[in-house]
């Protein structure tokens, strides 16, 4: 627990711990930056994520190779200065394929998280705020979605929608709605019992006003932390479905697919699947690290 003695809040009461929870919002930007300087791993994580976003936006800035055309004479070249990740069976540069693959995978991830966050948050808010029968009905439906493991649900959805990266994104998003709804509902229920919400009613603020001004902003912080965490999980889910072959058709570079393509040669040319896989793992680890820092920010 951090003790901030410069704020007057700490001089008062053991209740200061409850208040300390919110001090994160009061902290100034320079202070945040200096804190960041004390956490080298977090800095590295941000750099990794920003670079990968750069890959997705302008892949040609990062590699001069084409992701589709390869030199068949140079198939399965091990990683070298020329080909950082080596080349695949068709002699395509695997680094280039990973860089271009970032766009496919990250777009799908973003879409998935938006679907899950957007729908899940609204559903959770309605359930938590309305209460009573509406709440019970919504939560029973959410239970059902939670009962089917999300990968399985995503596989079923994608099989109905048809194989494509966009459908993967939708499927992953749909399968995560339930967990967002549950977290949002729990937060709303916790915020609704807070004194400041009661106080707002007492001051004559209407139900809608209370919801918009107090309940939503104060509930969102944990859902946003979950969304940050979900980015990593969604990358994994998208890549897993790609790996199983439900995503873009083969010439298309997609991270999960890259690993799957290299898998057949893993005994002889291990890098072909390991290099893209490791890159993927590093990105997910970095997003996890960042999401943890979000969570800490609002907890302490």
């Amino acid at each position: 627990m951090t003790v901030e003695l410069d704020t007057p809040g700490t001089s008062a009461a053991p209740a200061a711990t409850a208040a300390g929870e919110w001090s994160g919002f009061a902290r100034s930007l320079p202070k945040r930056l200096s804190e960041l300087g004390q956490q080298p791993i977090l800095v590295v994580s941000w750099i990794i994520v920003l670079v990968v976003i750069g890959w997705a936006i302008a892949p040609d800035l990062f590699t001069s190779y084409s992701p589709y055309d390869g030199n068949t004479n140079a198939s399965f070249v091990p990683p070298s200065a020329e080909h950082w990740f080596g080349t695949d069976r068709l002699g395509r540069d695997l680094f280039a394929r990973s860089v271009y693959g970032a766009r496919t995978t990250l777009t799908a991830t973003l879409l998935a998280v938006l679907v899950a966050f957007g729908i899940g948050t609204v559903v959770g808010l309605v359930a938590g705020f309305a209460g009573g029968f509406v709440d019970t009905a919504i939560m029973r439906v959410v239970d059902v979605f939670l009962a089917i493991p999300s990968l399985l649900l995503a596989m079923v959805v994608v099989s109905v929608l048809g194989y494509s990266t966009h459908n993967i994104a939708l499927a992953v998003g749909i399968s995560s709605i339930a967990s967002f709804a549950r977290v949002m509902r729990a937060e709303v229920l916790a915020v609704v019992t807070q004194d400041y919400v009661k106080a707002a009613y007492g001051l004559g603020v209407g139900r809608l006003g209370v919801m918009v001004k107090h309940v939503v902003p104060n509930s969102l912080s944990s859902v946003i932390a979950l969304a940050a965490l979900e980015v990593g999980t969604a990358v994994l889910a998208v890549a897993s479905l790609g790996f199983l072959g439900y995503g873009a058709p083969p010439p298309e570079p997609e991270w999960g697919l890259l690993v799957a393509e290299g898998r057949d040669y893993v005994a002889v040319h291990p890098w072909a699947s390991i290099m893209p896989g490791v890159a993927l793992a590093i990105v997910v680890i970095a997003t996890h690290r960042i999401s943890t820092s979000f969570r800490k920010d609002h907890r302490r």
């Binding site: 690993v259 793992a281 680890i285």
Partner: protein, 319 residues
């Protein structure tokens, strides 16, 4: 108490029924022409219309949706989900065939995952060295970040191809299960370890632990006597996440290691759009999930005397 049990059983049954209905809507109602799903997409145009009609009649697709639904539900209640399109065998038999293999893999992985998670939590709580704690606490988040297909391939590469300790593929003998089991245990252990590390820390700093210190208890005495039991209870609350991870993980693990099992079966079913089999698997999985949750819910009060009390008295229904 009886009311509680009845409520929980009712919910479990509801979940299974809803999973059936959901998959029915997804697989039989939503697709424009569900008959198409029954054929291999590549050959779909080559199939003569009369064959399609016969198949449609066979599956009852020419009847109104509600009748189809009731018919399927009626059969499902007796454990009959129809026949697999690909193999022609009953869905239930196909699932039960694959069950033992996955059961061995999943339960072994769960046991190993629990072991890993508890070791991590114990070390993180009992160490007095900051860096050891930080290192150990970072492990679970690494475990959930590395995709199963990558860890599978890495493990395969190192222990099978390089060191030759274990067979790479197949499901013959006890040795073949080791690598898949480890692969599956890693992602499953992650969330459990994260939760345990947190709840161990919470309990370790709680008021009754201070009381124990003041009694003259030692560090190890406190961790084993007080913290362990109280901190382990919350692990049951993520039984559902654990179960989901086990299922998702076994789909990929069984693919990577070419083992037979429910996971592979699921993948094949989806690949070949074997609709009855897909529905059978989803309902089966949801049923197991509901059963696990039911067991957890029913056992929780036995493990926590406080909950026993709230069940007897319960909180005021305040306005």
């Amino acid at each position: 108490m009886l009311r509680y049990v009845a409520l929980k059983i009712g919910r479990a049954l509801f979940v299974v029924w809803a999973a059936f209905t959901l998959t029915f809507v997804l697989l039989f109602v939503l697709p424009a022409n569900p008959v198409d799903l029954l054929f291999d997409p590549a050959e779909i145009n080559a199939i003569p219309p009369e064959v399609r009609e016969r198949v449609a009649a066979n599956y009852g697709f020419n009847k109104p949706v509600i009748l189809q639904y009731l018919d399927r539900l009626g059969h499902a209640l007796t454990g009959d989900f129809g026949n697999s399109v690909q193999s022609g065998r009953p869905v239930t038999a196909a699932i039960l065939d694959m069950l033992p293999s996955t059961l061995v893999l999943a339960s072994g992985a769960l046991a190993l995952a629990l072991l890993i998670a508890f070791v991590i939590a114990f070390v993180a709580t009992s160490t007095r060295r900051e860096w050891v704690r930080n290192l150990v606490e970072a492990l679970p988040s690494g475990a959930v970040s590395v995709p199963v297909f990558l860890s599978g391939i890495l493990i395969l590469q190192i222990f099978s191809f390089r060191l030759g300790w274990f067979p790479a593929f197949g499901d013959e003998g006890a040795k073949s299960v080791v690598l898949p089991l480890v692969t599956l245990a890693i992602p499953v252990s992650g969330p459990i370890a994260q939760l345990l590390v947190r709840s161990f820390a919470t309990e370790f700093h709680s008021g009754y632990v201070t009381t124990s210190w003041a009694k003259g208890a030692t560090r190890s005495g406190i961790i084993i006597g007080d913290v362990f039991r109280n901190a382990s209870l919350p692990a049951l609350t993520i039984a559902s996440i654990t179960f989901g991870n086990l299922i998702a993980g076994s789909v990929i693990t069984e693919t990577v290691f070419a083992r037979k099992g429910i996971g592979r079966l699921t993948q094949t079913a989806i690949d070949t759009l074997d609709v009855p089999l897909v529905q059978g698997i989803v309902v089966f999985v949801a049923a197991i999930f509901a059963l696990i949750n039911l067991i957890v819910d029913l056992n929780y009060p036995l493990l926590d005397p406080r909950l026993r009390a709230t069940l007897a008295v319960s909180t005021p229904r305040a306005a």
